[in-house]
């Protein structure tokens, strides 16, 4: 069968099971847009290519399937650089197809030429410049394989216009056609190392499981839960792992790190064993590295061998898939005498489609019923910290005199939405408040930009998430600054009838930066003020085809959310006017040791 390169590309995407792609056409990619008309693939037409990339990320986050985006050469390609960098940092599988000028023009500064494979070399897992139409089926198969296996990540396929127009003889590539002699992800952990890890777990007195985003990537939430429950080891979930272990579980300590809660941070500092599963000792978690978890023996499990010993030397380093290694660890623990579980093991790897029910029931599990009573003193210590330093905010009526408390808005939103609601956040104070105050009891319900910290992520990523999981309610929790970066994608959402909901925590500031200027630059506020009503968010929302609501007092919060929850034929935006001077606590100042965590002023005793 003779096909053009363009037809072969679309056919290849169809054969990969692609159901939806996000993009925007232009000159160099024109040939590929023609066969889209006849394709089964849904194409979502974005208003800016950055939106296409973040939508693909949101889609991938919640479905576990690769997100696909397609853009033209030059400015189209450079507009999608930020999402590629974002996906690279957070290990999100993306396949981005860019148009390119004809091969005869490459290197001549042709119209809309940019060296996108060169530009994205350091922010993709791999990229390809296709120079022969006959290579297209193979390259697309390789691209999906590389994006989704091992440590997932974004890949880019650059397709020159003449290659898209050229004819080729179609073939469907089998596994043997992949030409990747240097690509061999490791999945199974070394059994000797796993056994050593099991011995350490059984000997530890103050163990902590430090769960990272790799647990979710590996579909390992069920395995993690079984490990925690059967060993009694408490779990911290990093910003990328929120939902990988239920927040309402008695063994869950919540989020560690710069804005983590006191107990999660301090438990790691005092731990004698850190079991790092798919986490990477990010500086936002460790604080000053040489003062991080000083007493801990470290077991580090990661699918990317380069993460092992990169920041913190591991006593036991295990390269492998988090789910497979966690299951092997359980088997090794059983071999060493850990009693068999009474409950039957949950089948599968915790796919997002069958998020575990019954987190509520677990919340009632008496701590005494948990195994490993040897850990009782450690658990008592953790409970004492939890009681002494819970997350707090000023709930008094005077507290909201200067605007709504963002924490109050989030608590109300959390309690007024289904348990499995997907929350997508931007970057800043609102992101930290959302992570702190939501209760994540299901995997794949939290979508955010962790590693790159990309303002403007929330609106498009929430649209991608809703496309991937139309059965779920999707709320974006956004900042006023972030919203202004990518709000135009709500036009896309309206046009495509993708009913996402956006809560803007409008504090009239680039709040996170303002907080740092208040705390570390003597309240010298430099270029952080945005204004609460310029733009007018309600009228802007309405102009984009959304329902727009404004909330200024605490008693309006609940009713406005109820109203938003009832809308299911278009997007909704709520402009919550929040307290401009609220700060995120606890906080470990940049470069400080986690021991110097600053708690909310209400909890500070004498000085700090």
């Amino acid at each position: 069968m003779r096909l053009t390169g363009a037809q072969a590309l679309i056919k290849s995407l169809e054969m990969q099971g692609v159901e939806v792609m996000f993009g925007l056409p232009g000159g160099a990619i024109l040939p590929v847009y023609d066969p889209i008309i006849d394709s089964s693939i849904r194409h979502v037409l974005v208003r800016h290519e950055q939106g296409a990339g973040h939508m693909a990320e949101g889609y991938a986050h919640v479905t576990g399937r690769p997100g696909v985006a397609m853009v033209t050469s030059g400015p189209g390609a450079t507009n999608i650089v930020t999402p590629l960098a974002d996906a690279y940092m957070d290990s999100i599988p993306l396949v981005v197809v860019t148009g390119q000028v004809a091969t005869s023009l490459i290197g001549t500064d042709g119209f809309q030429e940019s060296d996108i494979t060169g530009i994205t070399m350091g922010i993709t897992k791999h990229n390809w410049l296709v120079t022969d139409a006959a290579d297209i089926p193979r390259v697309v198969a390789e691209a999906f394989h590389v994006a989704t296996t091992g440590r997932p990540g974004p890949v880019l396929v650059d397709l020159p216009k003449d290659v898209a127009n050229a004819e080729m003889e179609w073939y469907s590539p089998g596994p043997d056609d992949l030409d990747l002699p240097g690509y061999r992800p490791v999945l199974e952990g070394d059994p000797a190392a796993v056994k050593k890890a099991a011995e350490l777990v059984l000997a530890a007195e103050r163990p902590v499981i430090y769960a990272g985003g790799g647990v979710l990537k590996a579909r390992g939430a069920d395995a993690l839960r079984e490990l925690a429950e059967r060993t009694g080891v408490p779990v911290v979930t990093t910003l990328m792992a929120r939902g990988a272990f239920p927040d309402s579980h008695p063994l869950c300590l919540g989020m560690p790190g710069m804005h983590g809660n006191y107990t999660a941070v301090t438990a790691m500092q005092r731990a004698d064993l850190l079991l790092a599963l798919g986490s990477r000792f990010d500086d936002r978690v460790t604080g000053r590295v040489d003062a991080f978890a000083p007493d801990a023996t470290v077991v580090h499990v990661d699918i990317d061998p380069a993460e092992l010993n990169k920041i913190r030397r591991a006593d036991v380093a295990i390269a492998g898939d988090c789910r497979i290694v966690t299951e092997a660890l359980l088997a090794a623990l059983e071999a060493l005498g850990l009693p068999h579980s009474a409950s039957t093991r949950a089948p599968g790897g915790g796919s997002p489609a069958d998020a575990p029910a019954g987190a509520e029931a677990l919340a009632g599990t008496p701590a005494a019923a948990l195994p490993r009573s040897r850990l009782a003193p450690w658990r008592a210590q953790l409970s004492e910290w939890q009681e002494r330093h819970p997350l707090v905010y000023d709930r008094s009526p005077e507290g909201s005199a200067n605007g709504l408390k963002p924490q109050f808005v989030l608590e109300t939103l959390r309690d007024a939405t289904p348990d499995d609601t997907i929350v997508v956040s931007g970057v800043g104070q609102h992101q930290m408040f959302a992570s702190q105050w939501w209760r994540f009891d299901h995997p794949y319900t939290w979508v955010n930009s962790g590693g790159l910290g990309t303002m403007g992520f929330a609106v498009p990523a929430s649209i991608g998430a809703k496309v991937g999981r139309p059965d779920r309610m999707v709320w974006a929790v956004d900042g006023d600054g972030c919203f202004q970066m990518t709000a135009q994608e709500l036009v896309t959402a309206s046009a495509e009838r993708i009913p996402v909901k956006v809560a803007i925590l409008n504090n009239a500031y680039l709040g996170m930066v303002r907080q740092w200027q208040e705390m570390f630059y003597e309240e010298r506020y430099s270029e952080v003020y945005l204004s609460p009503d310029l733009p007018d968010y309600v009228r802007w929302a309405e102009a984009m085809g959304c329902v727009g609501l404004r909330v200024e007092s605490p008693d309006e919060v609940g009713p406005a959310i109820d109203k938003a929850n009832d809308v299911d034929d278009r997007p909704v935006v709520i402009d919550f006017r929040t307290d401009a001077f609220e700060k995120v606590f606890p906080m470990v100042p940049a470069g400080a040791s986690n021991d110097d965590i600053v708690v909310d002023p209400a909890q500070q005793e004498g000085g700090r």
């Binding site: 060169g118 070399m121 897992k125 791999h126 990747l180 002699p181 240097g182 061998p305 380069a306 092992l308």
Partner: protein, 201 residues
Amino acid sequence: MPAFGTDKRHHTLTVLVENKAGVLARVAGLFSRRGYNIYSLAVAPSDDVRFSRITIVVDVESAPLEQVVKQLDKLVPVVSITELDPASARERELLLATIEAGESERGQVIQLVNVFEGKIVDVGTDRLTVMVAGAPTKLDDFEDLVRGYGIVELQRTGRVALPKLVRSAARTPASLSDRPRAFGGSDHDHDPDSTETEKAG
């Protein structure tokens, strides 16, 4: 002061890569992006047309060798990496130099080239172009010795290396393993070329 021949801070990585466009840029880009220093780099086709061999001498003080190797290994077109520390490698490099050699000095320069088992590759009125191949330390010594005559131009290729062979029959021969090797080599073997360097120095 030798440039880098004997320095223990340098390790040699022999990297087998797919013979595809842009692979050298990926390798070089990785080093610059992650702040790893390269002392020398040599690229050549391998015995298999699908692959090329890149020999990189890295400064192991700019980054732990383990990280360098693992990050390199993550590049999709990197097929295998062999890591050699100076003590367990036979390293060779080629030097070409044009040297001032007027009538009165010409004989001395030629003598020096002979001691280093080099060759005269071009002869001008008062200059010679010479070629010396050998261990990097040996080339450092040669460079030092001819400097006095006046170096007009000098180029070195960057080194290539293979593992030292083990001589004891009881031991399995060191092989070109696909994976990075552990540190340390046999200590009872002996580099004929280094001995000559000592003689010359």
